[in-house]
C-alpha cells in the first residue's frame, strides 16, 4: 500500500487537524469526540444540520460544513459509523434552540448510532429529527435487505437543507424538505478499481484488468454485478438507465415523532423519474478518477437525458462523495421543483462547496 499517510490509526485525526488549519474562517474541529463545526456556530434561531458517517468519503461530510450547508459533521473511523457521543456533543455545540436535523445515510451502523444520539439529545431537551437518505438503486428491494444505501443524494440534501435552514425553515419544514429531496433522488455507481483502506493495506476486492464492478456502494463493498470493461458511453448509459428505469420504491423507515415523543414507523414511496421532469445531474468521482473523465460521462448523460425527455437544469461534476482512492464514478439524478432549485442556488460557503 502506498498512501500519503503516517499510520493507519492517525489518518482521521491528522486529516481533521489539516482541515482545521486550512479553513479557520469556515470551520473548527473538536477532538475527542471528533466533530467539525461551523466557526460561527450556533447561529441564532437557525435549525442546525448535522451529518456524519465513516471517514474515507472526503470531502463528504466535513468539507460541507459552513454557511448554507452543514453546521456539524461527525467523522467515524474509515468506513465505520461515528458514535452517538460525537453526534450528541456536536448537537450541543451547534444547536441554537431551534433544533437539529440529522441527515443519516441508510447503513445499519449509521442508523443505529444516530438513533441513539437522537435519544440522548432528546433526553437533554434538544429537538432532533433524523432523516434517512436511501437513494442507491443498485439495492433492489427493502424487504430482504437493510434497504437502499445512502449515496450521492446525501450531498445534495445537505446543500438544499442547509440553505433552507439559512432561510428560516423550522425543524418540521426542513425534515419534510429532506424527505422530499431523498424521495426525488436516485443514484447508481461503478468502480474501475477497488479502494485500499489504510488498515487493510491491500485492495478490498480484486478486479481484473478488463473487469468493472457495477452497483457498488461507497465502502469498497462489492457491487451488484461484475462486468467486462466498457466504454465511457456504455457505462454512462448503463448507470443512467438503471436510474431512469427504476420503478417506484417503497420501504418502511423509523422516525422520531416530535409530538408523540416516540419512534414511529413510516412507509415512504418514491415515484420513478418520468419524461418532462427537470433534474439536477450529479456526476461524481469515486476519488481516483480525474475530472476530465467525469466530463466525458456528463456529456453522454446529457445526450441520454435529452433523448428520454428529462431536462437537466442544474449539475454538479466532481469528487464529492468518494471511496478513498477508488477509480470509478456515480451518477445521481435529483428531480427538481422551484423550492429545490431556489435552495440549490442559494449561497454556500464550505471548504468544498462554495458559491
Amino acid at each position: 500500500m502506498k498512501k500519503l499517510i503516517n499510520h493507519p490509526d492517525t489518518v482521521v485525526r491528522e486529516t481533521l487537524e489539516g482541515m482545521a488549519l486550512a479553513h479557520p474562517n469556515l470551520i473548527k474541529v473538536h477532538f475527542d469526540p471528533h466533530f467539525i463545526y461551523r466557526a460561527d456556530a450556533p447561529i441564532t434561531d437557525k435549525v442546525a444540520i448535522i451529518s456524519g458517517g465513516g471517514s474515507g468519503h472526503e470531502p463528504m461530510h466535513g468539507g460541507f460544513v459552513g454557511m448554507g450547508m452543514l453546521d456539524a459533521a461527525c467523522p467515524g473511523e474509515i468506513f465505520t459509523s461515528p458514535t452517538p457521543d460525537q453526534m450528541l456533543e456536536a448537537a450541543k455545540m451547534v444547536n441554537s434552540g431551534a433544533g437539529v436535523l440529522n441527515i443519516v445515510k441508510n447503513y445499519s451502523g449509521d442508523v443505529m448510532n444516530f438513533e441513539m444520539a437522537a435519544e440522548l439529545a432528546l433526553s437533554e431537551n434538544i429537538k432532533v429529527s433524523n432523516i434517512l437518505i436511501d437513494d442507491d438503486v443498485a439495492v433492489k428491494d427493502s424487504l430482504y435487505t437493510q434497504g437502499r444505501r445512502g449515496v450521492g443524494t446525501t450531498v445534495l440534501a445537505e446543500k438544499i437543507c442547509g440553505a433552507a435552514a439559512e432561510s428560516g425553515y423550522d425543524l418540521t419544514q426542513i425534515a419534510n424538505l429532506c424527505r422530499k429531496v431523498n424521495s426525488n433522488g436516485r443514484s447508481m455507481g461503478m468502480a474501475l478499481t477497488s479502494c485500499t483502506t489504510p488498515a487493510k493495506g491491500s485492495p478490498t476486492f480484486e478486479l481484473g484488468e478488463t473487469e468493472i464492478e457495477v452497483g457498488i456502494g461507497i465502502h469498497g463493498e462489492p457491487g451488484r454485478e461484475r462486468l467486462s470493461l466498457k466504454s465511457a458511453d456504455e457505462i454512462t448509459e448503463m448507470l443512467t438507465l438503471s436510474i431512469l428505469e427504476d420503478p417506484i420504491y417503497t420501504r418502511t423507515v423509523r422516525e422520531w415523532n416530535l409530538e408523540t415523543g416516540e419512534w414511529e414507523e413510516l412507509t415512504i414511496s418514491d415515484p420513478p423519474l418520468k419524461t418532462g421532469d427537470s433534474v439536477l445531474a450529479f456526476v461524481n468521482s469515486m476519488g481516483g478518477t480525474p475530472i476530465s473523465e467525469l466530463y466525458i460521462i456528463y456529456r453522454k448523460l446529457v445526450e441520454i437525458c435529452e433523448k428520454k425527455g428529462i431536462k437537466i437544469i442544474r449539475n454538479l461534476v466532481g469528487a464529492y462523495i468518494t471511496s478513498l482512492d477508488m477509480q470509478g464514478c456515480s451518477i445521481t439524478l435529483l428531480k427538481l421543483d422551484e423550492e429545490l432549485v431556489k435552495f440549490w442556488d442559494a449561497p454556500v460557503k464550505t471548504p468544498s462547496l462554495y458559491w
Binding site: 467515524g76 473511523e77 465505520t80 430482504y144 437493510q146 469498497g220 462489492p222
Partner: protein, 209 residues
C-alpha cells in the same frame, strides 16, 4: 450466583479475547461486510480495559453502564450501538447490586437480547448476532428453571451459542451490510454472531474458574 469479581474477570478476559481474535473477526467481516468487525470490537474492549481499574468501586448497574457507554462511544459501526444497548439494558437489571442470582443473570441476559432486537430490528434467521443471542439465552433460562447449576446452565448456553453461530453459515443475510450481497452472503459465518459466541464462551469459562 455470580459475583462482581467474576463479572469483572469476564470483562478483563474479553479485552484479551477481542485482541486475540481481531484478525479472525475482521476476516469474517471482509467476506460479507466491510472488514472491520474485529477492529471495531478490539478498539471497544481496549477502551473497556482502560476503564477496568475504576469498576470495582461501582455497583454492577454502574459498572455495566460504564461498559455500555464505553462501547457505544468507541466501537462505532453496527456492533457499537448493539453491544452498547445490550449492556445498557443489563445495567438497568443490575442496578444497586454487587452480585446476581442465577435467575437474575438470566433476566439480565434476556433484557440485553431484547435491547439488541429493539435497536436492530433483526428477526431470527436474518444472519446476525440475534441468531446466537436468542437461542443461547433461552437455553440458559430454561436450564436454570429446570434446576441446573449456573455452571451446568452456561455449558449448555455456550454449546447452543456455538451451534447457532455455525448455523448462520447457510443463511442469507437480511440485515446489516451483508444483506446487500443477497445470495452471495450464503456460505459465510456471520462476524457479529461469532463475537457473540466469544462473549458467552468467555462468560462460561469465567464461571468455570
Amino acid at each position: 450466583m455470580i459475583t462482581q469479581k467474576q463479572l469483572l474477570q469476564w470483562l478483563e478476559t474479553l479485552v484479551q479475547v477481542f485482541n486475540d481474535h481481531k484478525d479472525y473477526l475482521t476476516e469474517l467481516d471482509a467476506a460479507i461486510g466491510d472488514a472491520d468487525h474485529g477492529i471495531n470490537m478490539s478498539r471497544g474492549f481496549q477502551k473497556v480495559g482502560e476503564k477496568l481499574p475504576t469498576l470495582p468501586d461501582q455497583d454492577l448497574g454502574n459498572m455495566f453502564k460504564t461498559v455500555s457507554m464505553t462501547l457505544i462511544s468507541s466501537v462505532g459501526g453496527a456492533s457499537g450501538p448493539l453491544y452498547g444497548t445490550f449492556f445498557l439494558k443489563a445495567s438497568a437489571i443490575a442496578a444497586g447490586k454487587h452480585q446476581l442470582t442465577d435467575e437474575e443473570l438470566g433476566t439480565l441476559l434476556q433484557a440485553g437480547v431484547e435491547g439488541v432486537i429493539q435497536r436492530g430490528k433483526a428477526n431470527l434467521g436474518d444472519k446476525t448476532m440475534v441468531d446466537v443471542l436468542t437461542p443461547a439465552v433461552e437455553v440458559y433460562q430454561k436450564a436454570i428453571a429446570q434446576g441446573d447449576t449456573i455452571k451446568e446452565a452456561l455449558v449448555k448456553t455456550v454449546a447452543t451459542a456455538e451451534q447457532a453461530m455455525k448455523n448462520t453459515i447457510p443463511l442469507m443475510a437480511k440485515k446489516g451490510r451483508a444483506s446487500y450481497l443477497g445470495q452471495r452472503s450464503i456460505g459465510h459465518q456471520d462476524p457479529g454472531a461469532t463475537s457473540c459466541y466469544l462473549i458467552l464462551k468467555t462468560l462460561g469459562e469465567t464461571v468455570e474458574g
